[in-house]
């Protein structure tokens, strides 16, 4: 059997050409370079190539010079997040290595879809912006050196945890699943959040998640999205840690534990440090503000609290919060348990669907969150992405677009993609010998079933 090598990050760098005016200071323009083992000359060479490409492309396309560069073996993605700053991510394409050494490897370039990785690169920036602030604010404040250190600290961890192989259309959405609740239950939760902010004036705003479904958010959509993505990764890694600690014991997620995911582990220690509480920048208000991000977990609930950095964190505060939230969430959970999660209960064995609303970043899906239970072949998921890219392009000029396709190789599969305004939905159907009209009806049925109250152009 020939070996398949997976996609992997060849390099990832951030540069700003205006930071070096003289030849001897050339290395100043590189703000971050991964992998760090690459010698500086090589780094400069690659950055120089990127600069040359950008300059060349500018001759023809001055506003947006470059997004991707394809070579036989690699794919390079470009993002200009702020003026003069460029982020470049180069991937080694997945390949099938030949049996004979003399044969050339076959590079699977079509398995790598630009839109997915451009979205991943954008997210990599947005995350960095949340944790280190905008690049230009650091540079303008003559803190370029500090920026470099911060970027290094942030990206080394980020890149090593980035599951570059598992990215698919969901990377395009980076959305949040909302918990569907009736008004009464929703009000219960909202009032708890209000109470929290009233009791603890330090807490400026909060986000409440239940089982990774968003229930309540008091902040801007895009920042809520980033925080919930971060919290999820935090939970995953902390559960991994817990599992490795409890090796041999039943390490199923112990849901009755109430604890701070970020914050002091031990309330008895009066001098506990608060280093594990991350500080984040929120940019939605007029001037970027720094906040402590406190995350508290209890019985499937996750509460994220934003406390202005100017406040002083004390063990006393954490103790009080623990007491308040522990009691509150316990009573809430009994109210909510009976309704969630609702989607799995829907009767739709053969069809899978995906829904995304760009306005509130809501995602609904029947395709389950975890990859393992996702029984859809990768090729089909890639077709969904192809359709998403096409529909989005069409919708730049008009209100709606719809695409229906039947696959050639996996010929049982049909994919329907509808887009209307900023809402997108995709249905994956498996049907032997079906006619397009049948698929059309099925998709409409699914639409009515899953997205009852949402308007979609027919």
């Amino acid at each position: 059997m020939p070996d398949r090598t997976d996609i992997n990050i060849r390099n990832f760098y951030i540069f700003n050409s205006t930071l070096s005016s003289k030849e001897e200071e050339e290395r100043n323009k590189i703000l971050f370079y991964y992998p760090p083992s690459i010698i500086i000359d090589e780094q400069l060479k690659n950055v120089g190539f990127s600069e040359a490409i950008l300059k060349f492309a500018q001759t023809f396309s001055p506003d947006k010079p470059c997004e991707t560069i394809r070579t036989k073996k690699t794919r390079q993605f470009y993002l200009q997040p702020e003026e003069n700053f460029w982020m470049v991510m180069t991937l080694n394409l997945p390949a099938i290595k030949p049996k004979e050494i003399a044969d050339e490897a076959e590079y699977l370039e079509h398995d790598v879809q630009d839109a997915v990785y451009l979205a991943a690169l954008k997210l990599a920036y947005d995350m960095a912006k949340m944790f280190v602030g905008t690049f230009s604010s650091s540079v303008e404040g003559k803190k370029t050196k500090q920026l470099k250190i911060k970027l290094e600290k942030f990206y080394f961890r980020y890149l090593t945890t980035l599951k570059i192989n598992n990215l698919d259309i969901m990377a395009l959405f980076q959305g949040v699943q909302y918990l569907p609740l009736d008004p009464l239950r929703f009000l219960h939760i909202q009032s708890s959040s209000n109470l929290l902010e009233a009791e603890f004036p330090e807490v400026e705003s909060s986000i409440i998640l239940y089982d990774n479904y968003l229930v309540w958010s008091g902040i801007d959509y895009s920042e809520m999205q980033l925080i919930s993505l971060y919290v999820r990764s935090l939970q995953e890694s902390s559960h991994l840690d817990a599992e490795s600690e409890n090796l041999g014991r039943n390490s199923a997620r112990t849901t009755n534990v109430c604890r701070f995911l970020t914050g002091p582990k031990n309330f008895l220690d009066e001098d506990a440090s608060f280093e594990s509480v991350p500080v984040i920048y929120l940019h939605s208000s007029e001037s970027p503000t720094k906040y402590y991000l406190n995350v508290y977990e209890a019985i499937n609930f996750t509460v994220c609290m934003l406390i202005n950095e100017k406040e002083r964190l004390t063990v006393e505060l954490f103790k009080k919060l623990d007491k308040f939230l522990g009691d509150k969430l316990l009573s809430l959970s009994s109210k909510i348990k009976s309704v969630a999660p609702t989607f799995q209960s829907l009767q739709a064995p053969m069809e899978k669907f995906l829904y995304f609303n760009k306005l509130n970043l809501a995602v609904k899906t029947l395709t389950a969150q975890s990859k393992s239970s996702l029984s859809i072949p990768e090729e089909v998921m890639r077709v969904v992405t192809d359709i998403a890219v096409h529909n989005r392009r069409c919708c730049k000029l008009s209100a709606s677009a719809e695409t229906v396709v039947k696959l050639m190789k996996l010929s049982d599969y049909w994919v329907v993609g509808k887009m209307s305004d900023d809402r997108e939905c995709y249905f994956i159907l498996q049907a032997k010998n079906a006619a397009l009209s049948y698929i059309h009806e099925e998709a409409n049925k699914m639409c009515n079933l899953c997205l009852k109250s949402i308007f979609v152009h027919k």
Binding site: F60, S61, K72, S398, K406, S411, A435
Partner: protein, 484 residues
């Protein structure tokens, strides 16, 4: 730079020296002694220092005439589809727009980009940004680059570059090209291509406007099968005794009437397109019979065929091409042609051809299918296709271009290199596009945007039976395969 082709006939390729292309390239030693083109001040094949210079911020322009080059670069921005050909040393060969000499720095940069990637044992394929794609093709001693402000796929753009490369090969042959650059890597290929640039110009227009290139097929002139057989038989009987005649084809108005071939050999659609392009680009064929060398890259990239080209007669504008490997056959073929025309006339075939040419292809609206604006059909067994007349609302050049881009988009989804589709339905703001692959045909439809899905489906299902009734199918596609 003007001398005649053998036989004193004007061919489209003018060889400054006595051309003996049939001896292929073995005896060919860049013999041209002519006034050197003034070397442009910019160097070609930039070394590392130049690369650094670029990177350090000097512009892509010669310092000697900065203003002028800036203007040239400014000029280039406005074009939708540009093509550059250069030697692997960075020497300009062809630019669709603008004077190559004035773009020499730009050519230099393109060469540097390609060779930078080459140094790491890789191949630069394309640079993409929102709305603009640079496609690179490095083949032998040539580098071809296109700059397209379209939404075409990499596969489509690469295929167009390959056509341009093939067009160059068809003028000089691959072996000669390789040899020239082996002996002098800084050779200015424009000397050899001089007079042939218009073939590339014409080819680019042809590719932008004719669906034949997108579909990889040739258009057939609809004719009753018996009428077509008559024509083929007449050509076969007039030519069967001629040794070394490889192909004989009759074309009219970019449509194939018949192709007769030597049993051993086949003619690929892309070679056929080059022959169509040759005829399209040369007005002189209309006035006199010509004898011209042409290399068909898929047939044999290293040698020339000799092509006898002539229009049948004043009153029948079909063009007969007789291709042979023998460079002494002009008079034999000329006689054969006379015979063919006489017989065609006597048997009424000229009238058949004229009648078929006078008949405009039907438009989709004439088929009486509600909401159908345009459609195309390609045979999967034979690389042939038929398309309806482009009609309202596609009656301005912009609309025609828009329709082409819709089909390009549909085609790239249906024929995705790794995820091909059997059916693709695209509902958009101003059109519905539908592509459907059946066992024998590929169908591509354009509908009004307000047609319901079920109407579109049923129309698409019904159309083949209406439009490809037994007789019609045989008229629109050539299923016979006559040989000498």
């Amino acid at each position: 730079m003007s001398s005649s082709a053998p036989g004193g006939l004007e061919g489209p390729f003018k060889f400054p020296n006595s051309p003996e292309p049939q001896s292929s390239s073995s005896s060919f030693v860049v013999p041209y002694i002519e006034e050197e083109r003034p070397e442009s001040p910019a160097k070609h094949g930039l070394d590392e220092k130049d690369f650094e210079k670029l990177v350090l911020g000097s512009d892509f322009v010669d310092e000697s005439n900065v203003d002028e080059d800036c203007n040239v670069a400014q000029e280039l921005k406005k074009y939708k589809y540009n093509i550059f050909v250069l030697s692997s040393a960075g020497k300009p060969v062809y630019s669709r727009y603008g004077n190559e000499d004035k773009l020499s720095t730009l050519f230099g940069v393109m060469q540097v980009l390609v060779s930078f990637i080459q140094d790491s044992n890789d191949v630069l394929k394309s640079i993409r940004c929102n709305g603009c794609t640079f496609t690179f093709l490095s083949k032998g001693p040539l580098i071809l680059v296109s700059v397209a402000k379209t939404q075409q796929s990499d596969t489509q753009l690469l295929s167009q570059l390959t056509y341009v490369y093939n067009q160059v090969i068809s003028v000089v042959t691959l072996s000669r090209l390789t040899k020239i650059f082996e002996q002098k890597c800084n050779y200015d290929l424009r000397r050899l291509l001089s007079g042939s640039e218009r073939l590339i110009d014409q080819l680019l227009v042809f590719m932008e406007t004719d669906y034949a290139f997108l579909l990889g097929a040739v258009r057939v002139l609809p004719l009753a099968p018996t009428a077509r057989d008559d024509i083929s038989n007449i050509i076969v009987s007039a030519c069967s005794k001629i040794k070394n005649l490889v192909f004989a084809l009759l074309i009219a108005n970019n449509q194939l009437i018949t192709l007769v071939r030597m049993k051993k050999y086949e003619l690929q659609p892309s070679d056929l397109h080059l022959l169509f392009n040759l005829v399209n680009s040369s007005e002189s064929f209309k006035t006199a019979e010509s004898w011209t060398p042409i290399c068909l890259p898929l047939f044999n990239p290293s040698g020339f065929l000799h092509c006898h080209v002539s229009y049948l007669s004043e009153d029948c504008q079909a063009c007969l091409m007789l291709l042979t490997v023998d460079h002494d056959l002009f008079y034999t073929l000329s006689t054969a042609k006379q015979k063919i025309v006489e017989t065609l006339r006597r048997k009424g075939s000229l009238k058949d051809i004229n009648d078929a040419l006078a008949l405009k292809p039907i438009s989709a609206s004439e088929l009486g299918i509600y909401g159908l604006r345009h459609f195309m059909c390609k045979s999967r067994k034979h690389p042939q296709f038929w398309s309806s007349r482009v009609d309202t609302p596609y009656d301005t050049p912009e609309e025609v271009e828009h329709l082409m881009s819709l089909y390009q988009n549909l085609h790239q989804h249906v024929h995705h290199p790794t995820r091909p589709l059997k059916l693709c339905y695209q509902q958009m703001d101003s059109e519905i596009m539908l592509g459907h692959i059946t066992a024998e045909y590929e169908f591509y439809f354009t509908f009004e945007p307000l047609v319901t899905k079920s109407d579109a489906i049923s129309a698409a299902g019904r159309l083949p039976s209406v439009w490809l009734k037994d007789d019609e199918e045989k008229k629109k596609f050539i299923f016979t395969d006559p040989t000498f």
